[in-house]
């Protein structure tokens, strides 16, 4: 059975062109970029070439890009870096209640160490209100961090508006663009951000590499302490093949982004429409239009997400859920709860995220299989009965 992968927001396969670009840097051009000899310098050159590509994708200058081990490190670096860099000015950080764990947990760590964090609420679509940001700013506020688009329910946030508010108030502004970079246009000046996180494995690059954009002049304490790599901003021997792969992936993404976003948005809307038609007591989570092109997230009443996913998996379909029962965490998605979903609804969420290899046929198969699974699970649901 050919499997149908619809979990592109969790991770993407590395594109063959990307793997091909990486390969020489494992075995042949394997040098340490800090070394002055030819092996070192050819590795360094490759890293710098990738840096230009990544900068180019988001309208930044290459010296404003620092490579990291992924989106989580970029988020930790931005948040802890500004917190420690600016603590003489204040200890207040504004973020949202729908951030990725990498932002939320970094903030909670700082909270335990005396910082003061505001987690802004969102509306039923998952949108942060720029006005809430404005009202929450105090003279102790040193950082605002709001994600560009949510990984779970796909809502794209009004970053440019928040950027204007941050700029006016002269407060550093960070956005987690892990889900948008390479998928929708991202321009650091248009968004008005000082810091922006990316992760290669979300855009058909390798796992274990990401980047933090740091606008020139942004005061930041290092997160990874050690050697003088990345202009002394991030220590550790550079993951040269990973960085080269990231660069290649970004280059391809830039070329194909617009066309691909259009194709996926169409498939997304078709899938949403058909799901709502074929299954009763189902609702769309997240914003209907200010939404990632590849994200479909629904809650289906009376059934639990993991058991839907497992049943789909048995049919060769890979999806995900915000249910408590999802593998790495025991709480239901804080994101869905923040939007006002009940616990039952959060546990009944199902996310399909589409990607480069998604076809109409694959989605047709989902539409064939899912209603039966829902029927089967509802037959054993005590929730359905109690509502009869």
């Amino acid at each position: 059975m050919k499997r149908i992968y619809l979990d592109y927001a969790a991770t993407t396969p590395t594109r063959p062109e990307v793997v091909k670009a990486m390969l020489p840097y494992f075995t042949d051009a394997f040098g340490n970029p800090s070394a002055i000899h030819s092996y070192g310098q050819e590795a360094k050159g490759a890293v710098e070439e990738a840096r230009v590509k990544v900068a180019d994708l988001i309208g930044a200058r290459d010296e404003e890009i620092v490579f990291t081990s992924g989106g989580t490190e970029a988020d930790n670096f931005a948040i802890k870096g500004v917190a420690y860099g600016k603590e003489s000015k204040g200890n207040h950080i504004i973020t949202s209640s729908i951030e990725h764990h990498a932002v939320i947990e970094a903030c909670k760590f700082l909270e335990r160490r005396g910082f003061n964090i505001t987690y802004l609420p969102v509306d039923a679509y998952g949108l942060v209100a720029p006005d809430d940001v404005r009202k929450t700013i105090t003279d102790k506020t040193i950082l605002i961090s709001v994600m560009h688009a949510n990984n779970e329910m796909g809502t794209i946030e009004p970053i440019a508006e928040i950027g204007r508010i941050a700029k006016e108030a002269e407060i550093h502004f960070h956005t987690d663009a892990v889900q948008t970079a390479g998928h929708v246009p991202v321009d650091v000046d248009e968004l008005g951000v000082d810091l922006l996180s990316m992760s290669a494995h979300k855009l058909y690059g390798p796992k274990g590499v990401g980047a933090l954009y740091i606008r020139k002049g942004t005061k930041l304490v290092s997160f990874m302490h050690g050697g003088g790599q990345e202009r002394r901003r991030r220590a550790s021997t550079e993951n040269v093949p990973g960085i080269v792969g990231f660069g290649k992936a970004v280059e391809l993404a830039k070329q194909e982004m617009n066309e691909e976003a259009e194709r996926l948005s169409y498939l997304r809307d078709q899938l949403i429409k058909s799901l709502l038609e074929r299954i009763d007591r189902i609702c769309l989570n997240g914003h209907p239009t200010s939404r990632l092109p590849n994200n479909v997230n629904v809650s289906i009443d009376f059934v639990e997400g993991e058991s839907m996913c497992l049943n789909l998996d048995l049919e060769g379909i890979c999806a995900s859920t915000g249910s408590a029962c999802s593998s790495a965490s025991l709480e239901p998605s804080h994101i869905l709860l923040a939007m006002g979903l009940s616990h039952e609804q959060a546990h009944g969420s199902l996310r399909f995220t589409l990607g480069r290899w998604t076809t109409e046929e694959e989605l047709a198969r989902v539409l064939d299989v899912l209603p039966q699974i829902v029927t089967k699970l509802r037959a054993m649901s005590p929730l359905l009965k109690s509502r009869r």
Partner: protein
């Protein structure tokens, strides 16, 4: 190419795919209702008792794969057992019968044990009440 692995043992998946004893029992002798929407697992367990022996058990479960498999397994395990024997079924025994559960899913087996205990308590409460009622009938 690596093997395709699964979160769960084959036994769990077998019970998840084909859960035994799904449904309700009409006029059950005991009902157990445990769990809550916050944690995401809700189990209802029905038993039919005859002469101190559980002759039938059914369940309805909202929950993950492990919740469904442990519900299915526990209903299988209790059938034909005396009330006392049934009370001796531990969550570990249920998990073991399923060839184990991932550590973070052990709470599902606890829930299954609790559902069973709760159904048995319900049965014992009712039968006390019934015998009290019966005595009542006899006395006046």
């Amino acid at each position: 190419m690596p093997d395709v692995r699964s979160l769960y043992s084959e036994k769990v998946m077998e019970h998840f795919r084909n859960p035994r004893n799904v449904g309700e029992i009409e006029n059950p002798d005991g009902i157990g209702h445990v769990g809550n929407p916050v944690c995401g697992d809700i189990m209802e367990l029905y038993i039919k008792v005859n002469n101190g022996t559980i002759i039938d058990a059914k369940f309805k479960t909202f929950g993950c794969g492990a919740a469904i498999a442990t519900s299915s397994m526990v209903t299988e395990m209790v059938k034909g057992k005396s009330i006392e024997e049934a009370l001796g079924i531990s969550n570990r025994a249920v998990a073991q019968a399923l060839d184990g559960l991932p550590p973070i899913k052990m709470h599902c087996s606890v829930l299954a044990e609790e559902a069973l205990k709760s159904a048995i308590e319900d049965y014992l409460d009712k039968s006390e009440k019934r015998s009290a009622d019966g005595e009542g009938e006899r006395t006046p």
